[in-house]
């Protein structure tokens, strides 16, 4: 919501990301903070405001939809284009053209918002003016009219297609989630390679760390599956696990006879 952004001198934002309708909406709210006509807006300043906004949301560990990040990247690029001299003979639109396009987009969106509000403020049927409360059917020969409109027709077709889809053989789509079985397999294969205590991290599939940082579901499932698999191997007496303190790193070692003094 608009009111939820305050550009206090402390630099503290209060951000309600759910209140926004996408990155352009955020930009429009930020642009209003410059308190000038949209046509006069400083795009460099706006880019900075937006990047600060995204950083703030990132700092408070809120997840931002990809479109917000794409806009951030584009704005960072645009800012650099505007601040640096234009390369000669560039094929791309100039920094100014890109800035003008953004200004146009903001104006256009704001215009649509305004007219939307003006529409709703009009006298409206059922609110300000009214239909005949007692419509009459004029009598005469009896003709049956089938009552159906385009919406109902399309809805019927949609419903039919859906039901058809429902009776199709069940297809189980491949999932990118990790299974414990896969993790077990990976641990078993890996165990030979590291005779001593080794961090459990090393047994995670490639890319898991990056994925975790981005909060990706697949990475989180890989992490969980690996941990569960390690417990399973302990139960089978195949490995030993060690953890120095709560939330500390977990180490793992094969429990083979040659590495185990007992």
């Amino acid at each position: 919501m608009v009111e939820d952004i305050s550009d206090g001198s402390s630099g503290a934002f209060v951000v309600d990301i759910d209140g926004y309708e996408g990155p352009l909406d955020v930009l429009l709210v930020l642009a209003r903070e410059q308190k000038v006509d949209l046509k006069e807006i400083s795009i460099v300043q706006l880019a900075e405001q937006y990047l600060a906004f995204v950083a703030e949301v990132g700092r408070t560990n809120l997840e931002l939809a990809a479109e917000y990040l794409v806009m951030a990247a584009w704005l960072a690029y645009l800012k650099s284009r505007l601040l640096l001299p234009e390369p000669a003979g560039a094929e791309e639109p100039s920094g100014e053209a890109m800035a003008a396009a953004l200004t146009f987009q903001l104006q256009r969106l704001e215009a649509m918002r305004d007219v939307g509000a003006r529409l709703m403020a009009r006298n409206r049927l059922g609110q300000d003016f009214f239909a005949r409360g007692r419509p009459e059917l004029l009598s005469g020969n009896r003709v049956t009219v089938l009552r159906v409109d385009l919406f109902e027709l399309l809805k019927a077709y949609g419903g039919h297609l859906r039901r058809r889809e429902d009776v199709q053989p069940l297809r189980i789509p491949t999932s990118e989630l990790s299974s414990v079985e896969e993790a077990l397999e990976r641990l078993r294969r890996g165990l030979g390679g590291f005779p001593g205590w080794e961090s459990l991290w090393r047994y995670l599939p490639p890319g898991t760390f990056e994925g975790l940082n981005q909060g990706r579901l697949a990475a989180r499932s890989a992490f969980a599956a690996t941990f569960a698999a390690s417990l399973e191997l302990v139960k089978q007496g195949r490995v030993k696990l060690r953890q120095g303190k709560a939330y500390g790193p977990i180490y793992l070692k094969a429990a083979g006879p040659e590495s185990d003094p007992q």
């Binding site: 005469g140 019927a156 297609l161 058809r164 999932s175 697949a218």
Partner: protein, 211 residues
Amino acid sequence: MTDIDRRHLRMLEAVLFASADPLSERELAQRLPEDAAIPVLLAALKADYADRGVNLVRAGKTWVFRTSPDLAALLSRDKLTERKLSRAALETLAITAYHQPVTRAEIEEIRGVQLSKGTLDVLFDQGWIRPKGRRQTPGRPVTWGTTDTFLDHFGLESLAELPGVDELKMAGLLDARPAIQIYGVTDVPEAEEDEDADEDDADAPSELGQP
């Protein structure tokens, strides 16, 4: 008519027009300003409408606008009884529109259920579908398609204006499967095959969404 408050007259007119039920003088008095002289206003309004196509009439203690009785006969060559289309008929119509030219057997095949006798008749009587030709297959079954009356009724300029399957989906008219996507599905079930090979197909829009 000089001492009639025009403002009150307009109010009375609007209230009577918008009301779903005939209104008594007491109810009218409750809705209009206190100083409105209801009986005088009613008499004036009744006189205003005396020669019009709509009259203000008194029914017992209540007042109501009604079509002038002498017009009822003139106007209405048809008494419209509106009827809802059955779901079977609605689906049959939609399938005919999207898959035309299409035979009865094909409609049954697509719907996965037999067509009861009257279904095509209802649509035919309404002028929405008509025979289009014959399929060049054993038995040479009749194919069906939609008519201009159909387009007209649904406010379509041409069949090409019917949204395709993808667009129905996007408009929310056709829900996709439950959201398994959340769980990181990589394999999107693809569209089913469709092999309509009709010779008499000339006027069927080829790019209509084929389910």
